[in-house]
């Protein structure tokens, strides 16, 4: 186990280093740059622009800039945002809360609903419900999140006035209930795709397990259907879902990109978009590294959980 963890840690570090090099290169090779914001100010002189580029360290060769960034990262200095000169970690910290809130609530919704739809679809295979669920999942997967978000806002906020049209909370209120009400629409919108994916995978996984010999044996022994379903089928069918959950982590982060924009949710997704728009290199790199770490961590946890849940798996 320790050997496994050490090996994974080494692999992860190498991977992170590669991610940082590729990310840095792509970011800097993309046309445009953070100076675009300054060049348009009337009266800006080339001399002033040079000074700004120098102060930002943009006038040095790329490998030198990368080395500077890398050296600082090693000692835990993630740099400062070009936009508001705040330390990158502070900027990320300020945006991570809303994103986590959204991710946790939408994951709960997705897992609960996805499991229900998936299991029911599998045990009532080819029923009306199953067909509806299949078609529903297709639709959910093909609807653009942006459009769906706007439709939800239009129906529930503009027409019915049941839910707020986005935002984290009402300015000047900020009670728990207020937060919760604001969370409903964005988490449902964000959960939609995950519900579809989760339910499809679970249905398939269930069907596979149902045809296993041990289920037939259990049935032959006269085990009640309920027990077969809950003790034997679902538990086994959920195993591969651990991996899928681990893989879903980046999807949730990127899904939040669009959802956060529609619902004016000040999270990581929007920060990432804005930072790319402004070519705020330190923040973009920061988010990139942060997400890479999250993804690696997600996979590691999934592997560990898998091993814990399935005695057939040995990590060493």
């Amino acid at each position: 186990m320790t050997r496994f963890l050490l090996r994974r840690l080494m692999q992860s570090l190498v991977l992170l280093w590669l991610v940082s090099i590729i990310g840095f290169a792509v970011l800097h090779l993309a046309p445009g740059g953070p100076l675009a914001e300054f060049t348009l100010i009337p009266g800006m002189t080339p001399a002033q622009l040079k000074l700004i580029a120098h102060q930002m360290g943009l006038d040095r060769p790329l490998p030198v800039q990368y080395w500077e960034w890398f050296r600082r990262m090693l000692v835990g200095n993630w740099g400062r945002s070009y936009r508001d000169s705040q330390p990158v970690l502070d900027v990320i910290a300020a945006h991570i809360g809303p994103t986590l809130e959204l991710m946790v609530s939408s994951t709960i919704i997705a897992v609960v609903l996805g499991t229900w739809v998936g299991v029911l679809g599998a045990i009532r295979r080819y029923s009306v419900f199953d067909y509806l669920a299949t078609v529903g999942a297709m639709i959910a997967l093909s609807i653009p999140t942006f459009w769906f978000g706007l439709v939800v806002i239009y129906i529930f906020s503009v027409k019915l006035a049941w839910l707020p049209a986005g935002n984290l909370y009402t300015v000047g209120n900020g009670s728990f209930l207020d937060y919760a009400v604001h969370l409903i629409a964005p988490s449902v919108v964000l959960a939609l795709v995950t519900i579809a994916i989760w339910s499809r995978y679970l249905r398939a996984s269930m069907l596979e397990v149902v045809n296993q010999d041990y289920i037939r044996t259990a049935r032959a022994k006269g085990v009640p259907e309920r027990t077969i379903l809950f003790r034997h089928t679902i538990r086994n069918a959920l195993l591969p879902m651990i991996t899928i959950a681990g893989l879903q982590l980046p999807t949730l982060l990127s899904g939040a990109l669009v959802t956060e924009t529609v619902f004016t949710w000040p999270g990581m997704g929007r920060l990432f978009l804005d930072s790319i728009g402004y070519r705020d290199y330190p923040v973009v790199m920061g988010i990139l590294m942060f997400s890479a770490i999250l993804v690696l961590l997600g996979n590691l946890i999934a592997d560990l959980l898998y091993a814990a849940a399935d005695p057939r798996i040995r990590l060493d």
Binding site: P31, G32, G33, P34, L35, A36, E37, F38, T39, L40, I41, P42, G43, M44, T45, P46, A47, Q48, L51, I52, Q55, R80, R83, D84, S85, Q86, V91, A94, H95, F146, L150, I153, Y154, S157, V158, A161, P164, A165, G166, N167, L168, T170, V171, G172, V258, T261, V262, F263, T264, P266, G267, R270, L271, L273, D274, G277, Y278, R279
Partner: protein, 562 residues
Amino acid sequence: MPDDARSDLRLSPTMDISRLSRRRLLGATAAVGASGLLLPGAARAASAPPKRPTGHVVIGFSQEPTVFNPLMPHIEVDQGVHWNLFSPLWLANEKGDLVPELAAEVPTITNGGISKDGLSWRVKLRPGVKWHDGQPFTADDVKFSFDLLNNPKFRAWSRNGYELMRDITVVSPTELTWKMSKPYAPMVSILCWTFMVPAHILGKAADPNTSPFNQAPVGTGAFMWKQRVPGDHITLAANPHYFGTGPYLEEIIFKYIPDLTVMFTQFQTGSIDYIGLQGITADHYNQAKKLKDRVVVVGPAPFIESITMNLSKPQFKERAVREALYYGMDNKTIVEQIYYGLPKLTSTYLPTQSWAYNPHVAPHVYDPAKAKSILDAAGWKPGSGGIREKNGVRLSFQNSTTAGNHVREQAQQLLQQNWQDIGVEMKIKNMPPAVIWGDYFNMSHYDSVMVGEDFMTGPDPDVSQYFLSSAIPAKGGAGQNTMEYVNHDVDKLLTDGAETFDRAKRKADYWKAAEIIRHDLPQLPIFQYATIEGTKKNLIGYKPSVYVSTNTWNVNTWYWAA
């Protein structure tokens, strides 16, 4: 990807909302009145501001303000916040009149504040003004602010005008004088947008570029810094010791909503009280007018939409080509079909509201037959594929604008068709804002761009930054003459106009310059923008103005009708 406007870096060259003209504005107001929205006018007039600051206003912006040191490089939404935290020496109100703020009076040659030769300035300050932290505001702060702008280590937002200042002398806590190295009339206007910063805080900063002040500003404005939630909103609280009118609101909140459709929805549902930059999109205008309990105002904006050409490219060197292109553009259809008839057609670069606007400049005429005959006469003969050629140069060029700006893209397609009809090929190549508005535009790497620009110097009609031959960045000049336009008569007129304080003389110079530029056509103007903004019906005090870049310049006088 969500939206066009959101991704724009700066507003001026990239504003995509269609905007209204004055003539149209009257019509629109009448329509609004007819739909019952003018009724509250009576109620509005009757209600008086509250005795104590009451309530709060949520202001929606489609870009996030992130720069709070007003002397550092910033964009329009940043300035929208600066107006409330800081004060200039004086400002231009919505009518264009100069009103003293931190100064006791606006210096003129008549009142002796500016010497007859325009070289010596004397400014008297309003006594008893305090910074938000309670320290007195004095002439030292003004001197410090000017010095900081000229400090070579400081990332100054602009040095235009300030670099001419010499011998800034503090005479007393409420008076200072300085000399100018040459007379420069736009200086009065530049100072309208120059916010004073505190010497007692920034003076002690080791590096003013990274001082904590930049994220916790202390000003003299009607509102004080309270809180910033990055990526979401900024809260300012009423300054109880404000020297001017108001404030009547307890708090103002600048809410960042990156998508214009989403911002409009939040205006509909009431999450925001005022929909500011970049306002309501033209395609939502009809819907907005019908909203209950909202007032939608179509106001003029100083931006001019035009096709800007790079005159150093062989296709555009000849005036005949540019003239033919202008005759070949169906600007009326662009405004009416694509911009819902809201902005006003123009053939020059100043907004109609400016005192230097020349109403006699030849209007634009759409005449493809004439365009063809001009090109024929100039020797541009149809070649392969019907595209005209002359001396090996094909009349074919690229046109670029901010990618994802759907409205502009439609206009581009229309122009492409228009020009194809006269044997000219235009290829569309759009780019993200950080790409197009960087070196590509600034260092004149482009063929032609579709862009909305405010050519004035603050509220002053001096357009030297855009048309002087010494303002070409690609040739090392300071300015925005990226089209590389060179006309020495224009140089002289603009320089003379900026050096005299006599408005009649300036006007004559600027009218002449406008005529020459209309004749030379370094850029092909299409229309003047109009902002479509709105407030809740019972929010009183909002006044759109062409003399500011953001209409949050007077929030100190805003209040909720009882």
